[in-house]
Amino acid sequence: MAAYIKSILVGTWSLIAGLAITLRFVFKPVVTCQYPHAVPKIPDRYRGHIDFVYDPATCSHKCIVCGMCQKTCPSGCISLEGEKLEGAKKKTLSVYQLNFTTCSLCGLCVEACPTGALTFSKEYNLAGFDEKEYHFDLIKRLQERP
């Protein structure tokens, strides 16, 4: 009998303690971020899809068409082509396609690049109707960047 009454009293007290906790939470400040009205700061090490680094010296990218990124990519999602322009010694990049649908964001391409031409973008807002929308042309992206 004593145990029965004690269980009721202890149970009731635990309920009141629980209510007190939630009541305290009502008066605590809101912790959510009002996306899309406010956007949280993206951490420096955030990995979006890869992108070219802008080189102010040449006003272009730093790629030398060595093909290391293409070879090292475990998912095979990079395809690039270079061509030899008239009079130039080295190749210049003409096509750089990233198939983001199979990219695992492993970062091997970024590490492998001898000139540091690649980096992770901060793009997180991706939505599309078609797989084609995730085949990025990095050269075009670099040119369109402000």
Partner: protein
């Protein structure tokens, strides 16, 4: 204006009766509708605050137009009849739930003379209508031929049977003290200050506050609110009895749930918290009833966002092993005290 109304009342009593009827129906419909809509809003806001969010805020200032948007969305949905259902019962069930909720409001007084139809057996009428609500849920589940609905309705019925008993036991002991089933008279007896309220009438029965608690818990269970919302346990039963309902069929069930919550809270305020009497004996009026009513409803919501759902055994054990014995003891003590004094 008043003399004109009196004149009309004398010359054409029939017309006045019809006029009164229409006004009462419109008022009750509006009250229930508005309550259902804005209690959902309040609940979402409160849930947000407890979880340190803001809650609805996009539609209108403070999200105040959100219920309207939700209502329009529900109304424009197609009324879909699944295969293999019992059409008549399927369509009837949501209306049954809603109508009984409406009917409860007919005898509830909100202030001195502010009642659609005063009944001497008002309390009994409310309990009678409230228990039909369960039948509505059961019929809806049966008619929609869905296993989740069936399990849910079995739970609703056993839960309501289990909790109707302590509830009525408490009411019986309360009635020994008040001596009437007329809600008006019950409130009138509690006039004065908060020390006259039934919840604190310790001379009538020292267990009155406990009786109040039992009644409150039973109301939670009867209205299927958390922690007793086993009937609608989303994680196990999809949406319970109204799994197969869409559009306004679902809307009616949903509104009925909130309307029942209002009925339950009003009943608690009237039976235990002095109805429209002021706690300090000054300026009694409907505003006090509404204050108590919404304070109780907020508590119910607060409880919902605090506690997890109980198990079904826990629910039945609480009723049969705790609430009913205490309610019986309360009944005995009250009976003895009434007899002695």
């Amino acid at each position: 204006m008043l003399s004109y109304l009196n004149y009309l009342n004398d010359t054409m009593p029939c017309l006045m009766a019809i006029l009164r009827l229409i006004v009462c129906i419109v008022c009750i419909l509006a009250f229930v509708g508005l309550n259902a809509a804005y209690l959902v809003w309040l609940e979402r806001k409160l849930a947000g605050r407890i979880q340190r969010r803001i809650g609805p805020k996009e539609v209108g200032p403070f999200g105040l137009l959100q219920p309207l948007a939700d209502g329009i969305k529900l109304m424009t949905k197609q009324l879909f009849l699944p295969d293999g259902i019992d059409r008549i019962l399927y369509l009837l069930a949501p209306m049954l739930v809603m109508t009984t909720a409406f009917m409860c409001f007919v005898t509830i007084p909100f202030g001195e003379g502010l009642v659609a139809r005063e009944l001497d057996l008002g309390l009994l009428a409310i309990f009678a209508f409230a228990s039909i609500n369960v039948l509505g849920l059961l019929l809806g589940a049966w008619a929609s031929r869905n296993k989740y609905s069936m399990i849910s309705s079995a739970r609703v019925v056993s839960q309501n049977v289990a909790y109707e008993i302590p509830m009525l036991l408490v009411v019986a002991s309360l009635l020994m003290v008040t001596g009437t089933l007329n809600l008006h008279d019950i409130v009138a007896e509690q006039a004065g200050g908060f020390w006259n309220w039934n919840v604190l009438r310790l001379n009538a029965s020292p267990l009155m506050p406990v009786a109040f608690l039992i009644f409150f818990v039973c109301t939670l269970a009867e209205t299927n609110r958390t922690p007793f919302d086993l009937a609608e346990a989303e994680s196990e039963l999809v949406a319970g009895s109204f799994t197969e309902y869409g559009s306004m069929g679902f809307g009616l069930f949903f509104m009925g749930e909130y309307a029942n919550m209002v009925v339950g809270s009003t009943l608690i305020s009237i039976l235990f918290l002095g109805g429209w009497n002021c706690p300090f004996g000054i300026f009694p009026g409907p505003h006090w009833l509404f204050l108590k009513l919404y304070a109780l409803i907020s508590t119910v919501m607060w409880i919902r966002w605090t506690f997890p759902r109980t198990t079904f055994y826990g629910l039945l054990n609480l009723s049969w092993k705790v609430l009913i014995p205490i309610a019986l003891v309360n009944l005995l003590i009250t009976g003895a005290l009434v007899k002695v004094f």
